[in-house]
């Protein structure tokens, strides 16, 4: 069966429909030109697509490089990019891509099939010290490259300059999503080797932008790649200023010195801006693929008793926690966020019911409560949220000591089977790498993530769910898409209803501040897969 790219899309129709339903005013039509200023507090980490994996560099790497496939802006629909077409074998194991001959790197050379192979191998290569290797697990030979026993991945072939062929070890419904990740970006081998370990500071790609200047600690300047093989972007370039306190960035934005305050609006300033006359033009406030949750270490007494975990779920007043963050979230009922395919709108989760929670604890033999530890990040508002959780737990007789730590220390505590107890994930709640429910399982609820230093802080590892997850991901035929989402929906609902390894607390919306001269729909400022879509944003006439 040959499948055209259109049929192979994994579009979430609701998103596409939402975009189409937003009519553009005449003065808000996309225009070509203009240079904008974007601010962030933290230094830019690397721009190496095999390594970069944070909020800041993700959008910029996305704009510097191209991948075989891409998402249509503002949506989760897969569209051609470096590959102008592709086919998938009937058994779902062989993907063959034909490259666009117009695609060139900014060093002038054509992008070839060998570059694609080299680039993915580089992402998997342990010597790269990147976070990407695991995403390509379906490809035959990925395991041998990842453990260092092979120098290439056998399952990626480049029979000629314009053809790339992937052979998978098992069908993988998310494979096109994986190829759209930044980690699959094409890089020219000669430029990587010339830059050595500093390729991330001197990136060469085939994307919409190129990096002109990078002054560490101060700013980066990107300009439009005039030889880009696709017909974007709109802006001529953007300047990223770093070391900017979010509060100062918002003040500067109000004065017109800054166009996008990348770190959003600090809580202290949020209500003032939200209630100001400019709010409609400056605040972009949108749902994202995110869930913030409390993990419960299922491997530790008394949390190994499901009644205790259910009691915790009923003890937390999520509405109050949402109020703490100025209502910038929706109380969560389940693991998946509402935007994600597979979200179960009919599942209402555990109600806030203190009496019932006490009853469950009493049934578990803990009538007099117990003491435990709650880990949380030390940046606002997380300590305040941790205190609210602490109070809710105290109301059912659980005495939780709060340990508010820097992010790396919370990760280390949660990822330590003996240390982990309760962990509030706020500030690092799970945000999907790609728009597929499976991404909410493996690293955070699957056995593979239940490792020291991993992110499965519930240490939840259930053979039955593991088998169901594996079966769901093997349903890779496009016509099975909805059925597969149904399987995932049942998995997540059952996990919460039967095992309750988490207290899903809220789905946080992302808030970005933009200047009044910036145009375009909200979804290109908070794109579901790119964060800020530098290719699509524009300056109004």
């Amino acid at each position: 069966m040959r499948t055209s790219w259109l049929k192979a899309t994994t579009a979430v129709m609701a998103l596409g429909a939402g975009l189409a339903a937003t009519p553009l005013r005449a003065e808000d039509m996309p225009t070509q030109g203009g240079t904008i200023v974007v601010t962030y507090k933290d230094d830019m980490a690397t721009l190496d697509p095999a390594i970069g994996y944070d909020w800041q560099n993700w959008s910029m790497i996305n704009g510097l490089f191209s991948r075989l496939v891409d998402y249509k802006f503002g949506t989760t629909e897969i569209v051609p990019s470096l590959a102008k077409s592709w086919s998938i074998s009937p058994n779902g194991l062989v993907y063959t891509f034909t490259l666009d001959p117009k695609a060139t790197f900014t060093n002038g050379r054509n992008v070839t099939a060998a570059d694609v192979k080299y680039s993915i191998e580089r992402s998997v290569n342990p010597k790269t010290q990147g976070p990407a290797g695991g995403f390509f697990h379906s490809i035959v030979g990925q395991d041998r490259m990842a453990d260092g026993s092979a120098a290439t991945i056998a399952g990626i072939e480049a029979p000629d300059e314009a053809t790339v062929k992937f052979t998978l070890a098992q069908p993988d419904a998310t494979f096109l999503n994986v190829l759209a990740l930044n980690f699959a970006s094409a890089v020219p081998k000669e430029a990587v080797e010339a830059a050595g370990a500093d390729f991330g500071k001197h990136p060469v790609g085939s994307g919409a932008f190129r990096l002109d200047e990078w002054v560490p600690g101060q700013h980066l300047v990107f300009s439009r790649n005039t030889n880009y093989f696709r017909d974007r972007p709109q802006i001529d370039g953007f300047r990223v200023e770093i070391g900017q306190e979010p509060l100062v960035a918002v003040l500067r934005l109000q004065k017109g010195e800054v166009d996008i305050a990348g770190d959003g609006i600090p809580p202290a300033k949020y209500l003032e801006i939200k209630n100001s006359a400019d709010a409609k033009d400056t605040i972009v406030d949108r749902e994202q693929f995110e869930t913030s949750y409390i993990t419960i270490n299922t491997a530790k007494k008394p949390f190994d008793d499901v009644r205790v975990r259910q009691a915790l779920n009923m003890a937390i007043n999520k509405e109050r926690i949402v109020r703490i963050i100025n209502g910038r979230a929706m109380p969560a009922t389940q693991v998946l966020p509402p935007l994600m395919p597979g979200y179960d709108a009919s599942y209402k989760g555990y109600p806030y019911d203190v009496a019932k929670a006490k009853q469950l604890l009493a049934d578990a033999g803990l009538k007099d409560g117990f003491s435990t530890t709650l880990y949380a990040m030390n940046t606002d508002p997380n300590p305040r949220i941790a205190q609210a959780i602490q109070q809710d737990l105290a109301a059912v007789g659980i005495k939780a000591e709060i340990k508010a730590l820097a992010q790396p220390e919370v990760i280390a505590a949660g990822g330590n089977k003996d240390q982990s107890a309760l962990t509030w994930s706020g500030g690092m709640g799970w945000i999907a790498d790609f728009p597929d429910p499976s991404d909410f399982y493996g690293p955070i609820l699957g056995c593979g993530g239940a490792i020291t230093g991993g992110w499965n802080w519930s240490w939840f590892c259930d053979k039955g769910f593991e088998d169901r997850a594996t079966k769901a991901d093997a349903m890779s035929k496009p016509e099975d898409k909805d059925a597969r989402y149904g399987v995932w929906k049942a998995i997540f609902t059952d996990i919460q209803a039967q095992q309750a390894p988490w207290v899903p607390v809220f789905n946080e919306r992302r808030v970005v501040a933009r200047s009044k001269r910036m145009g375009g729909p909200d979804q290109i400022y908070i794109d579901p897969t790119r964060v800020i879509d530098y290719e699509a944003i524009y300056v109004k006439k």
Partner: protein
């Protein structure tokens, strides 16, 4: 003198080695795992182990420290785990801004401290003296972030006289330097005042006055030099302290100094940067003190013989 200098340099090297060892040990026992951070949130056990091996974090601790020291001897501070570039390059990139702010901050605090210290000493126990001393007290006890945000809000955000953040022109440096200066001037004012009051009561000052010299000349020529020694010692301390980074001021004004780099690295458990910044700022503190000590005999003939 050369002997003393050599001894002081050897002491300085010893201090730096001690700092390196203590910091290394503290960071080793930091409850965070750099290998897991580098390997990312979707890593499996093998990926984390690979990274640990690549970073040399699976070696015995003494060997890790030895490797760090041998690197250090060659001027190699290692590579950042998060920013993936040479720590030395990251620090060097931030030295110009740090130096500018250090110099400007010290200039403002010394200038203010001198003016108000002299005023207070000459008008001792007057209203002006009490006012200056009260302000000095308020200055040294004010939190940096309050003063920094206040100045920013009034002079940059509201009046628009200065840019709100960044680095590059003279206008950029005014507010950060003023923040440091206002907060530090109190120390200098108090010191100048007490050093001068001691002297103003002495016979030679009365003699100078008696032979008809103006107050101005007496104060500036005869009394003030006596305050020079403690001021220079204090500047030596400030040089070290400011070069170690003034985290809050840098954060508020988006000033690309060493403090920002350090603070960020601490939040991210970026061990090589924390090590590097600690060593470099220790180096500046040691150097600041050395220079202040070296300047003492030049300023005070009485020390020269010793």
């Amino acid at each position: 003198m050369p002997l003393i200098l050599a001894r002081r340099l050897a002491q300085a090297a010893g201090i730096l080695l001690g700092v390196a060892l203590v910091t290394f040990l503290l960071l080793h026992y930091l409850p965070a795992d750099p290998a897991a951070l580098v390997a990312g949130r979707s890593a499996n056990a093998q990926m984390i182990a690979n990274v640990r091996h690549q970073l040399g974090l699976d070696l015995p601790l003494p060997l890790q420290f030895w490797r760090y020291l041998t690197g250090l001897a060659q001027g190699n501070l290692g590579r950042s785990y998060i920013q993936r570039s040479e720590v030395a390059a990251l620090i060097v990139a931030r030295i110009p801004a740090t130096l500018v702010l250090m110099a400007a901050g010290i200039l403002v605090e010394v200038a203010l401290g001198l003016v108000f210290g002299i005023l207070a000493a000459v008008q001792r126990n007057s209203f002006a003296d009490r006012l200056v001393m009260t302000l000095a007290f308020v200055g040294v006890s004010s939190p940096q972030f309050v003063v920094a945000l206040l100045l920013l809000y009034v002079f940059a955000a509201t009046l628009g006289w200065f840019p709100m953040s960044g680095f590059g022109t003279l206008r950029h440096v005014v507010l950060p330097a003023l923040t440091l200066g206002l907060l530090g001037a109190g120390w200098y004012a108090r010191m100048v005042r007490s050093a001068m009051i001691d002297v103003l009561n002495q016979d030679y000052v009365r003699t100078a006055r008696a032979k008809g010299l103006s107050w101005r000349r007496v104060v500036l020529r005869h009394a003030l030099p006596n305050a020079a020694l403690p001021i220079v010692a204090m500047i030596g301390i400030d040089v070290g302290q400011f070069m170690g980074g003034v985290v809050v001021v840098e954060a508020v004004y988006g000033w690309p100094g060493i403090g920002q780099l350090a603070w960020q690295a601490i939040q991210q458990a970026d061990v090589p940067i924390i090590m590097g910044v600690t060593l470099v700022s220790s180096l500046f503190i040691v150097m600041g003190n050395l220079l202040a000590d070296a300047a003492a005999p030049i300023l005070d003939p009485r020390i020269r013989g010793r």
